[in-house]
């Protein structure tokens, strides 16, 4: 396991991820589970916690929770719902139906793209709360004139995935969350959208001297809304704790709030102020005991997970599984494999998929993509030209050759290019001498300059790689 250290300190991170499950209706009622919508339109007596209403468990939510458990290599078991009691206006019943000592999934692991396995302690079902907005006073609860509550989200099914404190850097934490998100999306459990709040991350951070076996006192950081803020929050919080310890003080166990604007974490409540949730078994629901047959059926319906897909792509493209991460994350791995199977150069396939198709493949087909790469490989199109054609293919589809012709792209004759280069070299004799006599570094710089000149004169129709070859050949001869 790699350890990233902060001047002799090791960061220890455990993440709690809440993901909204992609069901049509809420966890305990038939109200719609959809994002957005006019406030308080996706509600019913149960989601409002009206007197006399009772929860009825959504079978689809249970199925999705089991999918998550199986995909995270957990034990799926008999579970019991429990009430977590606390007063808050966005909590309609003043208790949340969750799971406590008997969660549906327990004891699994998740493998990061670099091969590290991170423990999963549990993944349990619970209901989401509503949302408060504070009007006046800059939107802060204490200065607001009044508050409004939208219960559309109240009762939306959540899976809370509690990771073991196995992560050792902000980078690993980001990698964990993004792998988890890929898995949730792949198995259809959640849309994983952090920006819409359908995936939320709470982060437990502590520090300890490098080599120490004991855990330091941890703080829980809340309000992390993106992968980027996750990294920033961890780095800030770890540094804060190291500063406290090195100044001779002790870290206090706290819940802290990440402020994206000032880039700091702030005290939300101390251990003494922590809520006593008075958990007890939910008497309105019977224990949940999925049959082994059902679990097997769900197991068999799981698609291939990102980990296996990275291996598949790596094998097809001759790269390491870790190098396949981005393409798998973008869900383009099957496409890549299909194109490679048509004989396309794997390196060029991956370069285009990683760098030139950020908005997706659009109208691009495996046939047109393979054809394009073959034109590029044969030298009929330069890299720059191929990029232009690719953009058109993704946008409108069509035949790569026709698109190239339409743009007036023709392969430049090598002798034509030689003549052109000869002229340029004559115009810049000092640069040429520098290239010929220079070391690797200098040659790189100068070749960039000459390629630039060639591109300018050919309006980008020349192949940079071919230009480089000509330059090298001339310098050596």
């Amino acid at each position: 396991m790699t350890s990233k250290t902060l001047d002799g300190w090791e960061i220890v991170i455990g993440l709690e991820v809440h993901a909204e499950l992609a069901t049509a209706t809420k966890l305990f009622s038939s109200a719609q589970n959809v994002f957005g919508g006019e406030p308080n339109t996706n509600i019913d007596p149960v989601s409002l916690g009206l007197p006399g209403s009772l929860p009825v468990l959504n079978q689809k939510a249970v199925e999705l929770a089991i999918r998550v458990g199986l995909a995270l290599n957990c034990r799926v078991q008999r579970s019991v719902f429990a009430r977590k009691n606390y007063f808050y206006p966005d909590m309609p019943k003043a208790y949340q139906i969750s799971q406590f000592d008997l969660p549906i999934n327990e004891g699994g692991w998740l493998e990061l793209p670099d091969g590290q396995r991170i423990g999963i302690e549990r993944a349990h079902l619970e209901e989401d709360t509503g949302k408060s907005s504070h009007v006046g006073g800059g939107g802060r609860i204490h200065e607001a004139d009044y508050s409004l509550v939208d219960y559309n989200r109240a009762g939306v099914p959540l899976i809370e995935i509690v990771g073991a404190p196995d992560l050792r850097s902000a980078e690993e934490a980001r990698s964990y969350v993004s792998e988890l998100r890929s898995i949730l999306v792949a198995i259809g459990a959640s849309d994983g959208k952090m920006e819409e709040g359908s995936m939320r991350v709470d982060c437990n951070v502590s520090v300890r001297p490098e080599g120490s076996e004991e855990f330091g006192t941890r703080c829980e950081v809340k309000n992390i809304n993106s992968l980027r803020s996750l990294g920033r929050a961890i780095e800030y919080e770890a540094q804060r704790q190291v500063d406290i310890i090195t100044s001779g003080q002790e870290v206090e166990q706290q819940t802290r709030h990440w402020d994206e604007a000032d880039g700091r974490t702030h005290t939300l409540r101390s251990k003494e102020e922590a809520f006593d949730y008075r958990y007890f078994p939910e008497p309105d629901l019977v224990p949940l005991d999925p049959s082994p047959e059902w679990i097997t059926e769900i197991q068999e319906s799981l698609p291939e997970l990102p980990r296996q897909r990275r291996i598949n792509l790596a094998e097809a493209a001759g790269i390491t599984p870790q190098e396949a991460t981005l393409v798998v994350e973008r869900n383009l791995d099957e496409f890549a494999i299909a194109v490679i199977e048509k004989g396309a150069d794997p390196t060029r396939v991956l370069v285009h998929l990683e760098n030139n198709l950020a908005d997706g493949i659009g109208e691009l087909t495996t046939e047109s993509f393979a054809e394009l790469i073959s034109l590029e490989t044969s030298g009929d199109l330069s890299a720059t030209q191929a990029k232009t054609v690719l953009a058109d293919l993704a946008d409108k589809g069509g035949d790569p050759k026709e698109i190239a012709a339409h743009h007036g792209f023709e392969a430049m004759d090598t002798s034509e290019l030689e003549t052109l280069i000869e002229g340029i070299l004559a115009d810049y004799p000092e640069d040429w001498t520098a290239f010929v006599e220079g070391d690797l570094e200098e040659r790189k710089k100068k070749s960039g300059f000459f390629v630039g000149q060639v591109m300018k004169m050919t309006k980008g129709q020349a192949d940079g790689k071919v230009v480089n070859d000509i330059l090298l050949h001339r310098a050596e001869s």
């Binding site: 916690g49 929860p55 003043a94 309105d284």
Partner: protein, 478 residues
């Protein structure tokens, strides 16, 4: 006239639902001011319902097994667009947007809902004195309480306001007032009747059940409201009960155990005249062919203690939603949490506050195992003891309440004395078993005594066999 006779008369066109209703409304008008059984009499709605029933009958249709029968519903059961208060200020002005499942079933059966009956606030009490709308009085002696918490429903039947009423029973809240008012009251098996729309007090103990003047009428009402409901996960996946054959089957050969602890044994405070009635009930059942013996259900003695941890614990959570945010009156304050505190302080009565505090304490970190955890173990012990007893007996027998109806104000200053009213009834709730109270004899004060018939889970049928015999024998005597 029994309910069934009235139903037939209306269905045959010999009587109109409107006439039946009118005569009951008249009785209400005469005595309601004195009794205070109702939080709300739904005169207009009831008249419209009765008219509708009459026109259905005129069209040759059968409106159902309760055609045109006036029914009173305890005011902790939701009725769409009609106030449902739980006799608490905290629900003042709240109009439920939906009907409880049993309210739908009553309407579907052709019943006419006449009003919402008084109760101890949130069903917490045994005298119907803890009500924001004043106490209900016992129609048999208005200086006395009707029992509780379903005192309004028991009094409504006893006063002839309605032939049938609906109550809820968490620790005896149907059976004890039935006993004190001299009517029949049934707590069915937990899950037999849907709780959807019953405002929760203690969810693992609450059960809706019928009040009636006769065992047969109670059976008919229970048949109508029983049966699986997909909106209540804890409801038993079985069709509605059919109890008709139980009423005439007799008790020949049935083995019936008299619970020793509740009949002069370990538990004190059960009055001699009540015990004398129990003896006569034993004789009646024996002479009808049952084999009656004394038996022990030892952990019954811990029932009350366990109940007063479990019920308040669940109540503290169930009643947390009354926070002034979404419904009911709000007492404004500077911050949200101050608003919640002020609203709850103003809205709840003392007994409700007492139980919320008890329950909150029992569930707190560090105390959970000692209180809630231990009480659940007692609950298991009680179930085990009952299971052992039911290996030898088909039914069990005990008094329903330790005394006859007591004077108003007699126990209001001493909560523990009030809690002891449920000493005989509480164990059935902890076990989830059915039990019913049937009037049998009188105390030295001339007030009725109720005998409790207890049965194992789901065996309401056998329970009603004994209930019918007790009723017949009691009528033969008086």
């Amino acid at each position: 006239m029994t309910v069934q006779e009235t139903v037939l008369a209306i269905q045959k066109g010999e009587m109109k639902a409107q006439e039946v209703l009118e005569s009951h409304l008249k009785t209400i008008q005469d005595r309601e001011e004195e009794i205070n059984a109702f939080n709300l009499v739904m005169t207009e709605e009831a008249i419209k319902e009765a008219e509708k029933i009459d026109s259905l009958v005129a069209e040759g249709k059968n409106p159902g097994p309760l055609t045109g029968i006036p029914v009173a519903v305890k005011d902790n059961i939701c009725t769409q667009g009609i106030p449902t208060t739980c006799s608490s200020n905290i629900l003042a002005g709240w109009l439920p947007p939906y009907d409880a499942t049993i309210v739908e079933r009553l309407r579907d059966a052709g019943a006419v809902i006449v009003g919402k009956t008084n109760l101890d606030e949130f069903a917490m009490g045994a005298s119907t004195e803890n009500s924001a709308f004043g106490p209900t009085r016992n129609p048999l002696d208005t200086t006395r309480v009707p029992g509780g918490s379903s005192g309004g429903s028991a009094a409504a039947v006893a006063a002839g306001f309605t032939p049938l009423a609906i109550g809820s029973d968490t620790g005896g809240s149907i059976r004890q007032p039935a006993a004190l008012c001299g009517v029949v009251g049934v707590k069915p098996t937990y899950g037999r009747v849907s709780r959807y729309g019953l405002v929760a007090f203690a969810s693992s103990l609450d059960q809706i059940g019928p009040f009636a003047e006769t065992v047969a009428d109670a059976a008919l009402l229970l048949e109508v409201i029983s049966g699986h409901d997909p909106l209540d996960t804890t409801s038993i996946p079985e069709p509605p009960l059919d109890l008709s054959s139980a009423l005439t089957q007799g008790v020949e050969g049935l083995r019936i155990g008299v619970i020793d602890e509740l009949s002069g044994g370990a538990i004190e405070g059960i009055s001699d005249d009540v015990l004398a009635c129990l003896e006569k009930a034993v004789e009646a059942l024996t002479s009808a062919g049952a084999i009656v013996e004394r038996t022990s259900v030892p952990s019954t003695v811990y029932g009350l203690s366990a109940y007063y941890v479990i019920a308040p614990a669940e109540a503290s959570s169930n009643l947390a939603r009354y926070d002034g945010v979404r419904f009911g009156p709000r007492v404004d304050a500077k911050t949200t949490s101050e608003m919640m505190v002020a609203t709850r302080t103003a809205g709840f009565g003392d007994e409700v506050k007492r139980r919320i505090m008890l329950g909150t304490y029992a569930l707190s970190a560090g105390y959970y195992d000692a209180y809630y955890g231990k009480s659940q173990k007692v609950r298991t012990l009680i179930m085990n003891d009952f299971a052992a007893a039911y290996e030898k007996f088909d039914l069990l027998l005990s008094p329903t309440a330790p005394t006859t109806a007591f004077p108003l104000g007699d126990k209001t200053e001493d909560p523990l004395q009030m809690y002891l009213q449920d000493i005989c009834t509480i164990s059935s709730n902890l076990a989830g078993h059915p039990a019913m109270s049937v009037p049998f004899g009188q105390g030295t004060d001339g007030l009725p005594v109720g005998i409790q018939v207890l049965a194992p889970a789901t065996d309401e049928h056998t329970m009603f066999r004994a209930g019918a015999i007790l009723e017949a024998s009691n009528q033969g005597q008086s």
